[in-house]
Symmetry: C2
Subunit: 328 residues, 2 copies
């Protein structure tokens, strides 16, 4: 019996109404054992609706982390506000104790990141965790890492993010030998700010296929399988992609020369609900952050991704190759 | 007789074939006096084609800066490679001497920025120059500053960029009291990396309408008239917008449900050729960087913008309000 995945039942815009359905689908259709963490009464009521009482484990947690905060980067401020008896806090403890292999939450990214760092802890030799997300490109997908976990990394941390991102591309996208591009402002080595110039010196020495620098327009062009950057730039880029796609579709719609169906099809591709969760990599357990608006099907997919990441030992492999000097 | 604008005749993908035509149009249609700087023989041949010999001034410069480098951010590496006898070097000297009020170049952004910083020099009290560009939004336009001149600014420099950007929005977009958003990764004050957190403390004290933090998706949504950031993030965002618009249109085209005309109309809006030049603000003279692919009409528009910026004293106004301590 494989270890279960914990689902933060109270997280997300829809709470147990969708998270419980997602856990049931994950169990029944993806074969992922799940433990739901949150207010046991509410969870059992939802399980009964699905005729699934007893099929999915339940761990009670009294408190709920408010969804006030949707953005990433709240690492320094939000952590103290998250109680250890919240669904998120209890779920992190289950990961730390090894009772579950991974955590899925549709709670606020900032809250999940800060709670996971403090509640679960970093994997050996990993300096800081990073958030990886697979963005659809015209050709396939590109992993953007760090999409918002660590705002002010050192160059050594960025080099580790590249290793984590390459592992993620292998495990989730199935790319055997992923190429990694360093996001900068010129394609030649040495172009960039202080952080990227130094990171660009470290990356060629690591056991990954380093492409060199890439630029802002390369992210959706699929120039490389992985685009590595700091969590500030990565989060700005992630949201800029979403906003730019939305603005472009709105301008096309305004011309009246495209069918609403065509626009909806493209919009769906970039809907965070469709492209699923972001993985917080570099902790002793796997954490997948699903979008706040996630419905049951997305939660179920996030559970399957979390199980695959945990099974694949994405963090272990990074630890094997930590050629960089730990500086903190 | 107002002071003329210098045009780097040798800059851009098409060189004198387009820059000279642009200078002629600027003179005849926009009433902007122009001095063309570059190889006098080539320039006169082009002027003759337009029947404009004697209408536009010519200053000879023997050397040409190679167009090898298209990206921004080459400040530290490219400057030494630009000879003082190049068209760019000579044009910068004309600005410094006060012979011309402004410089327009379609040369590589990196080369223009580094040459202008060293050849023209900073305006009084300005710590570092910044590149401002007006991006079309669904509602109108947003000024993105710094789009790539200063990769590692201090928080004080970012605060100055905000003042420069607000002046630019007033002069170029005609917005009486432009709102300014600080690009970050969460809308609440205190969200962001070290640089934006500190800049966010400085901005409310400045004489501008500070909106607070904005995020990546706000850039094209027109949430504020000005979006201020460091030159690294700004350049990544600028190119990410271009790439995201392109990718979205390509995906819509693939559905076959939109007419090519509709897509071309939106593509044109985000074509750097259409939205014109970026202004390098904070120097003792005005510098407008036109896109490398610029044709004559774009060069002419850039000359008019350069004249307006010089007349408007965008840099003088910033100097009036330098409430920040010069740290360098």
């Amino acid at each position: 019996m494989p270890q279960p995945v914990a689902v933060d039942a109270m997280g997300g815009d829809h709470g147990p109404a969708e998270t419980v359905g997602g856990a049931v689908t994950a169990t029944r259709e993806h074969g992922v054992p799940v433990v739901l963490v949150g207010r046991a009464g509410e969870i059992r009521r939802e399980l009964a609706r699905h005729g699934a009482v007893g099929e999915v484990g339940v761990v009670h947690a009294e408190d709920v982390v408010p969804m006030a905060e949707r953005g990433a980067g709240a690492v320094s401020t939000a952590a103290s506000a998250i109680s250890a008896t919240s669904s998120l806090g209890v779920a992190c403890q289950l990961v730390r104790q090894g009772t579950v292999s991974a955590l899925v939450s549709a709670g606020s990214t900032g809250a999940v990141v800060s709670c996971a760092i403090r509640g679960i802890g970093r994997a050996p030799n990993v300096l800081r965790p990073a958030l990886a997300i697979a963005l659809p490109t015209t050709a396939g997908a590109t992993v953007l890492i760090d999409a918002g976990a660590t705002s002010d990394p050192t160059p050594e941390m960025v080099a580790q993010f590249a290793l984590l991102g390459a592992s993620y591309a292998r495990l989730v996208l199935g790319v055997a030998d992923p190429s990694v591009g360093l996001l900068s402002i010129g394609s030649e080595p040495g172009k960039g700010n202080r952080l990227t110039r130094r990171a660009g010196e470290l990356l060629p020495a690591l056991p990954l296929r380093f492409h060199g620098n890439v630029e802002g327009h390369d992210v959706l062009a699929g120039t490389t399988d992985v685009v590595v950057t700091d969590g500030f730039t990565g989060n700005v880029v992630l949201k800029n992609v979403e906003g730019s796609v939305r603005a472009t579709l709105s301008l096309v719609a305004r011309t009246g020369a495209a069918t609403p169906e065509a626009l909806r099809e493209v919009a769906r591709r970039y809907d965070p609900e469709t492209h699923g969760g972001a993985a917080l990599l570099g902790l002793t357990g796997t954490v997948v952050v699903a979008h706040g608006a996630s419905r049951a099907a997305t939660i179920a997919r996030a559970c399957a991704v979390a199980r695959d990441l945990a099974d694949g030992g994405v963090t272990d492999r990074v630890g094997d190759h930590l050629a960089v000097e730990p500086v903190i």
